[in-house]
């Protein structure tokens, strides 16, 4: 199984060559610029808004990378016809798919880690320049380690989004894959509405269908604990563990489906 890490490293190197990591510079500049401007606009709420914005930016940059790189992972090889030479080598198709996936996960890990570091540095600076009396009024310290819980769940969410993008890319075009992945991501935030659908419709079939979708579709809203950590509200370890387990299981399901479809695909 040494093939998977080799493919993964190649994917990572390719993303570096494609200047994907430039987004880190954009992130850092955005955060620093916003931190300066917000102080003038927000009537003392700059630290809260920087936390909101930083976490949202980590999630957004990660989502864009996961979707737009994820959909090209397999498609690019097919389009360049390099898939033929790759599959002619002693590489199983499952190893190819998993290697590609792990490569993008590595890229995402580096991105999220560096963005989180930059985020904490900006917050540390903001906290340092404030008076102790002002800091005492904050609901949570500027560099509250509990925010890492939100980052962990964002990362798990990105792992799942990447898996879904890869799954679609094994059988459809990049445009369709991007649309379907983003569509699922959006629907995944309306999970609570699907759960309550039966209270607003009379049709038992529609209610049953909504309930079925509620269980079947990925619940992306579950990974969002940004508001709680910004206000320093405790998030139960059990909730985080269960959500990570849910994400990992859904991911395993999606990757298994992607490997199965790719293994049966005829490239002739």
């Amino acid at each position: 199984m040494t093939v998977v890490p080799q493919i993964a490293v190649n994917v990572f190197k390719e993303s570096v060559r494609d200047k994907i990591l430039y987004n880190l510079v954009v992130f850092a500049v955005l955060l620093i610029a916003v931190s300066y401007l917000l102080g003038q606009l927000t009537a003392g709420q700059d630290i809260k808004i920087i936390k909101d914005l930083g976490l949202a930016a980590i999630a957004t940059f990660g989502l864009l990378i996961a979707v737009f790189i994820g959909i090209g992972l397999v498609w690019k090889e097919v389009e360049r016809k390099s898939i033929y030479s790759l599959l002619a080598k002693p590489i199983r198709r499952s190893e190819f798919v998993l290697g590609k996936y792990c490569g993008l996960v590595l890229t995402l890990f580096v991105n999220v880690s560096v963005m989180t570091l930059a985020f904490y540095l900006v917050l540390a600076y903001m906290g340092w320049r404030e008076l102790p009396a002002v800091r005492a009024g904050w609901p949570a310290p500027a560099t509250d380690p509990a925010m890492l819980e939100a980052v962990v769940l964002i990362f798990v969410e990105l792992l799942l989004v990447t898996g879904i993008a890869l799954f679609f890319s094994t059988f459809s075009s990049p445009f369709l894959s991007a649309s379907l992945t983003l569509g699922l991501w959006v629907i995944g935030h309306f999970n609570a509405d699907l759960r309550q659908f039966e209270t607003v419709v009379n049709s038992p079939v529609a209610a049953w269908l909504a309930r079925g979708l509620y269980y079947a579709l990925p619940n992306f809203a579950a990974f969002d604990i940004k508001s709680q950590v910004v206000y320093g509200q405790p998030v139960a370890a059990q909730y985080i563990a269960l959500t990570v387990l849910y994400g990992a299981t859904y991911l395993a399901f999606v990757l298994a489906a992607a490997v199965t479809i790719f293994s049966r695909r005829d490239f002739k």
Partner: protein, 325 residues
Amino acid sequence: MTPDGESRRASAVVSGAVIALLFAAVVGLQAARERVGTPLASSAETGHLLYVRSPSFVTRAALSYRSVAADIYWIRAIQHYGGTKLSTDRRKQYDLLFPLLDLATSLDPHFNVAYRFGAIFLAEPAPAGPGRPDQAIALLQKGLDSQPERWEFAQDIGFVHYWWEHDYRKAAEWFRRAADMPNAPNWMSGLAAVTLAQGGNRASSRLLWQEMLKDQDAADWIVSQARFRLAQLDALDQIEALERIVMTYTQRSGAAPRAWADVVRAGYLRGIPIDPERHPYRLDPERGRVELDPRSPLNPLPASDQPRPAIRLEAGPSTPLGAGR
């Protein structure tokens, strides 16, 4: 350098010059557009647009970006309030203030500053605000519904009843309710009692603001509001004292003073009296009244709780004037 290298260098210089020229042209044209004006709606008009007002729709549409969307609506609310307050338009319209605050607090129900500052903005009378204490109370009530343990919201509701509605019974009721909440400061029950016994009394107002000033958790803006209101109360005290001096002068000299200089010359004052914001008080020689300078930031003062003494002036009309403002 080879001819090939030279031509490449010349080409790079030309490209650089063209790029710089085009950029300068873009900047120049933008400046020209600014001078000419635009047929599009002005920023003042577009600033009063709010396309989506349904909190439940916005909350759903924001997906996992609710906090950021709340921040954006909060910043818009501040911009709307501050921009309207500072505008030279005589008809100051704060019509978007409540919807913006409603959206911000629906997207982020723990946005405590939006409730508390928002209530201050909403209750402020025209032209400094929309003068809607009812909306201020509704916003704070919404905060209390989402966080029933926060005594600050109950205190703020009491405060709106006290300061803007002059309903001291309700104010005392809310202060009492705040006092019964967890972590409420000890002085809250005392405030409730004082409000009930001496509602509207300037001393009880002063106590209210002094406690707000001492509040460690209060945001800068609330602290500066407390300082401002205390300065207004000081000004009311000073105006009363000055009017008493003017009355004494009038009674002893048999004529009302025409200017502060008369009072100073008679030895009642050491100089022209100034308000806590260092603007000279104005003396109305016709009515014998002392008022703030129109340029003083302490304007408008709250209604005085003390009946102001009637002054009979030789130079003015013979009827007693102005019992209260």
